[in-house]
């Protein structure tokens, strides 16, 4: 049996007797003796379209109907592109436009696909055939010739002989990707220690707490019991790297009944009359934590359900986060506005390699 299945003429109907394991194709490796008998093909079964000319006609009609449908779909898509324009500011028009265009294109592609598959399944020739698998290993002859070709090429090019040419070529190939390293490094912070950047935020001694997004300062008396204020540091909106700074410095400000706050001695004075400020950046993977429940004082992260207890210095009470949310020490200035006493005392957000505190 010929092994070249590219010519097409070798694909022939064979009877099941021809494919027993004695005539196993080369490349099918070891044939264990206890192997079961190859059952061969099931008996050939003609389709309805092979026996009934009416069914054949019907299948033909179905196939070209699918192709007609496809044409209709294409024309429909063109027509609806013109008939349902996107009108500025009207989301309904946009929705209609996309939907009609989509229906047309789906009809066009599905019609083509269904027609093609139905054609091949019901009308194209119905007989079973076998393509023998190629041997994976080449013949000794081919292998010897391949080695010969390599040797010849080496001699003709002088790759082994002209060592300087070869080595400079290898050097050039090694040097070629280096600019990419420099380019990618250029995306990172310049002239600054990235660890330093991750460990510090815009908060500093005396920086006023301001409203997100307006940047208006907040008076302690504005923060009534049960309130939650979304806070950015003063001057953030004018900052050169506004979003980068916001991603680190976002703070949630809440006022609780002071009797409910359990504060450790080393954090005494970090809150003001029940007003506490905590970093909004989750210590797990850095989502903004801001689902504050004013009765239970739970602070929930929407990404992985880490839950922090605001009454207990935002310690983790549920979920994958490992560290409490960093607290921003706050005070009140002479005019009654809330100010930061300092930056956070630990890096905000998720862990990173060089993080100093664990």
């Amino acid at each position: 049996m010929a092994h070249d299945d590219l010519s097409g003429k070798d694909i022939t109907a064979v009877s099941s007797a021809d494919v027993s394991h004695e005539t196993a194709a080369p490349g099918t490796a070891v044939v264990p003796s206890e192997t079961f008998e190859n059952p061969g093909f099931p008996a050939h079964r003609p389709r309805v379209t092979d026996t009934d000319p009416k069914a054949e006609k019907k299948a033909e009609r179905q196939v070209y109907t699918f192709f007609y449908l496809s044409i209709v779909g294409s024309i429909f898509a063109i027509a609806s592109y013109m008939a349902f324009p996107i009108e500025d500011g009207d989301t309904g028009a946009l929705r209609l436009h996309t939907m009609m265009l989509g229906i047309g294109i789906v009809l066009a592609l599905f019609g083509l696909g269904l027609g093609a598959v139905h054609w091949s399944k019901s009308l194209m020739a119905n007989h079973e055939g076998i393509d023998q698998r190629h041997a994976v290993r080449g013949s000794e002859e081919t292998r010897a010739r391949a080695v010969e070709i390599f040797k010849e090429a080496n001699e003709e090019s002088g790759f082994g002989r002209r060592t300087l040419v070869r080595n400079t070529l290898l050097g050039a190939l090694v040097a070629f990707p280096l600019p990419a390293v420099v380019l990618f490094r250029g995306w990172g912070p310049q002239d600054e220690n990235p660890v330093e950047l991750l460990e510090h935020t815009m908060w500093e001694k005396g920086a006023r707490l301001t409203l997100d997004p307006s940047g208006l300062p907040i008076k302690a008396s504005d923060v009534t019991l049960g309130s939650a204020f979304h806070v950015i540091p003063e001057g953030l909106n004018e900052s050169e790297h506004r979003l980068e700074e916001k991603a680190k410095a976002s703070v949630l400000l809440m006022r609780l009944d002071p009797a409910k706050l359990k504060e450790s001695p080393e954090r005494a004075g970090w809150s003001y009359d029940g007003i506490v400020a905590y970093s909004k950046i989750c210590t797990h993977v850095g989502c903004p934590v801001a689902l504050y429940e004013q009765q239970t004082h739970h602070l929930l992260c929407p990404c992985h359900q880490s839950t922090f207890d605001v009454t207990e210095e935002c310690k983790v009470i549920f979920g994958p986060a490992k560290r409490a949310l960093p607290q921003l020490p706050i005070a009140v200035d002479g005019e009654g506005y809330l100010i930061a006493q300092s930056d956070f005392h630990e890096p905000v957000g998720p862990s990173f390699w060089e993080r100093s505190s664990s």
Binding site: M99, I218, D222, L225, A228, M254, L291
Partner: protein, 262 residues
């Protein structure tokens, strides 16, 4: 803001009237600062309305909130919650509660608008608090863009960016905001019902609140440009749809492709 009322004389009828007058003056003055169109927000509740409210309160609310609004083990004190809180809780059917649970559920209101108003007037008469907002703040004709930004910063983490609601801890949830009356949205922001934080006028000014309502009403009026929203619930609902219908269709087509024609 100085809103602490003297509770010592609360049973003296003249004192309550004086307190209402002071409360109205304060809140009305506050609104006038922010909005030139704002007028004194509520019509002066008459003494008969307050008396009516007192009876309703004693019969329906006092068993949990106490006859003097002082609160009991079953329910919080209502001193200082204001008319807005009563209008929200009773007007949306959350109060009276059907049963204790993770949170009070919204249901068909148990009281008529008139009775709700009487209850609100009574509660507000005992100690001043946020009043029912003026209609000019509820017209949903503010700045939807500003409202959307404020909504994303202050509300979307719990209520979902499309206002579809979301889960909180231990069985609580932030309800969907579609179909909620503008007045109730406003009152919820100003009073912080249940576990929702309070967004007072210094946090979100009355104009800001109007913008937030405008955004929510814009979402209601305009269909989603992306087609069917699947509840706007995001990756869970969308993923489930793709897994069931998308993969289902692929499996069905594969079976058809490989089956022998009959």
């Amino acid at each position: 803001m100085a809103r602490k009322g003297s509770t010592a004389n609360r049973r003296h009828p003249m004192a309550t009237v004086a307190l209402i007058a002071i409360g109205l003056l304060f809140t009305g003055g506050g609104y006038a600062l922010f909005s030139s169109t704002a007028t004194a927000e509520t019509s002066t509740a008459s003494q008969t309305t307050i008396d009516e409210g007192k009876k309703l309160f004693a019969a329906n609310c006092a068993s949990c909130h106490g006859l003097d609004l002082q609160g009991t083990g079953e329910g919080p004190s209502l001193l200082g919650v204001g008319a807005a809180s009563v209008d929200f809780q009773v007007g949306t059917g959350r109060m009276p509660m059907a049963m204790q649970g993770p949170q009070a559920m919204e249901k068909a209101p148990q009281f008529t608008a008139e009775d709700t108003e009487a209850l609100a007037a009574y509660v507000a008469s005992l100690s001043p608090g946020p009043a029912v907002p003026d209609d000019s703040l509820l017209d949903a004709e503010g700045d939807a863009t500003n409202g959307a930004e404020l909504f994303r910063i202050n509300c979307a983490m719990c209520h979902n960016v499309a206002g579809a609601g979301g889960a909180l801890t231990e069985g609580k949830f932030a309800p969907a905001l579609t179909g909620v009356a503008a007045v109730h949205i406003y009152e919820a922001m100003v009073t912080g019902p249940q576990n929702m934080p309070v967004f007072n006028d210094k946090n979100l000014s009355p104009e800001d609140k109007r913008d937030v309502i405008t955004y929510l009403k814009y979402l209601e009026k305009n269909p989603s440009p992306g087609g069917y929203e699947l509840g706007s619930l995001g990756p869970v609902a969308e993923g489930l749809f793709v897994w069931i219908f998308g993969l289902g269709a692929i499996v069905a087509l594969t079976v058809w492709l490989t089956a022998k024609s009959n």
